[in-house]
């Protein structure tokens, strides 16, 4: 009953490729955003923390699909009167969304090691910056991996929100294939399988990475 799938496989793979880009670029850029936001939240005063919490709550407090629409249609086109590339809009909003979540994970990890380890580093004569770089972050970025793995899995699936602004990612493609072939069940089960394989193996790799780099006897 899945005999029609091979015929449409190039479409699925193209969709998967878009989904990869929509997940991996925002995860990577969102990591930088989340790291800087976490550091600023922990080490810069109250004003920084307030601004960061407004940012985080905005992106955590509404569905990604709504944010995608806001950032593609409403903000640039209606508000600013400019056109913006769909993919760029999606990458931007996904990055900001993922960054908001990653900030939470990274901040938690920093706080788990910060206080005592910072004292020990400062007592050696390290500046705050050196202590962050050589003592706090090397530990925090290891213990954040399990939490980050969740964000990876979540973000990978959330790329389907990009269908709302017409990007031909995997979920969008499978809707098209279903409407062309009238074979919804097969199409969607195959699509689910593709997501599953992607996420399952990525998570396994991340778990292996964590096992390799984790600090003996010190897991948060």
């Amino acid at each position: 009953m899945y005999e029609f799938i091979p015929k449409y496989l190039p479409f699925f793979l193209k969709g998967l490729q878009h989904s990869f880009i929509l997940a991996l670029v925002p995860l990577a850029l969102g990591f930088l955003v989340g790291l800087l936001a976490a550091l600023a939240d922990v080490y810069r005063g109250r004003t920084a923390s307030t601004l960061i919490s407004i940012y985080v709550e905005f992106f955590r407090g509404s569905p990604l699909i709504v944010q995608a629409i806001l950032f593609y249609w409403f903000i640039p086109q209606d508000l600013l009167g400019m056109r913006i590339d769909r993919l760029m809009a999606a990458l931007l909003v996904f990055t900001l969304n993922s960054g908001a979540y990653q900030k939470g994970y990274i901040k938690g990890a920093i706080e788990a090691v910060h206080e005592d380890q910072m004292t020990a580093a400062r007592a050696l004569g390290m500046s705050k910056l050196k202590a962050i770089r050589h003592v706090v972050l090397p530990q925090a970025l290891r213990i954040v991996i399990p939490g980050w793995t969740n964000e990876y899995a979540s973000m990978s699936k959330s790329t389907s929100a990009a269908l709302a602004i017409g990007i031909p990612e995997l979920a969008n493609i499978s809707m098209s294939v279903a409407s062309w072939t009238f074979r919804s069940f097969e199409t969607y089960t195959f699509t689910a399988l593709l997501y599953f394989i992607w996420i399952f193996f990525s998570v396994k790799v991340l778990e292996m990475v964590y096992e390799r780099v984790k600090i003996p006897g010190f897991e948060a």
Binding site: V113, T119, A123, G125, G217
Partner: protein, 251 residues
């Protein structure tokens, strides 16, 4: 006095609802070993932390080799590199092996090249008899071994003075000995040390002077002999008696 290494001058540490130090003055001379003792909450840790400028006193001055560290122009990081600090709860860097714990400051603070840092670190680790454990992570070492690495970490920086904040009080009784032995070795080599401890046996053997502190004040100071034969204040006498009674030391 040219040979004074560390000095506190009329130091106060006032928190919102507690005064941790009240007008404490203290000098530690070159090669001297001073033991600070007194009930918990008496301000021993706070005094040590003030001397290392890990907390800034609310009033008074702190000096290292005559340089005022409490002055706004002082380069505190540079001063801290010359002050060794050994913590009650050890605080090794979890992500580094024993050797890495000792080389980190040499590399990143003193800027030594890798090989030189390694040699210096090995020398310090040998001094505390930890040279066989250099490739172990902190979690793979016993508490006593961890604390010896903590001492080596301080020692390797070739500090002017080492401050010990109850270095054995978080350890099981059977692990205290190896740490105290390492400290005695350092004492014999003429290191300048200020040690907060309740290990009275150690104090009697190693201290040049003992300082009894209570409720943020220095109550009495004198030689070990003075304290163990005839302390002049009631509070010191009661405290020492209690230490003996509770078997916290083997006086």
């Amino acid at each position: 006095m040219p040979d004074v290494v560390a000095e506190a001058e009329n130091v106060w540490m006032e928190y919102k609802d507690i005064i941790a130090l009240r007008d404490v003055s203290l000098q530690v001379g070159e090669g001297k070993i001073k033991v600070l003792f007194g009930p918990s909450g008496s301000g021993k840790s706070t005094l040590l932390r003030c001397l290392a400028m890990l907390t800034k006193p609310t009033r008074g001055k702190v000096f290292l080799r005559g340089e005022e560290l409490t002055s706004p122009e002082a380069d505190i990081d540079k001063a801290r590199a010359k002050i060794g600090f050994v913590f009650q709860n050890i605080l090794l860097f979890h992500h580094l092996r024993a050797l890495g714990n000792v080389t980190l400051g040499l590399r990143r603070v003193l800027g030594l090249p890798k090989q030189e840092a390694r040699e210096k670190a090995m020398k310090a680790l040998r001094e505390v008899r930890m040279e066989r454990w250099v490739d172990h992570y902190p979690a793979e070492l016993s508490g006593g071994q961890q604390q010896r690495v903590g001492i080596a970490r301080a020692l390797a920086m070739e500090p002017e003075i080492i401050l010990f904040d109850e270095p054995t009080s978080s350890l099981d009784p059977e692990l205290k000995g190896e740490v105290l032995d390492a400290m005695k070795d350092l004492a014999k080599k003429g290191r300048t040390m200020l040690i907060a401890t309740h290990e009275m046996h150690f104090a009697r053997e190693a201290a040049d002077e003992m300082i009894f502190q209570d409720e943020g004040r220095i109550i009495e100071r004198g030689t070990p002999k003075h304290f163990f034969t005839n302390p002049s204040t009631d509070r010191a006498r009661r405290f020492l008696a209690r230490l003996v009674r509770e078997g916290q030391s083997n006086v």
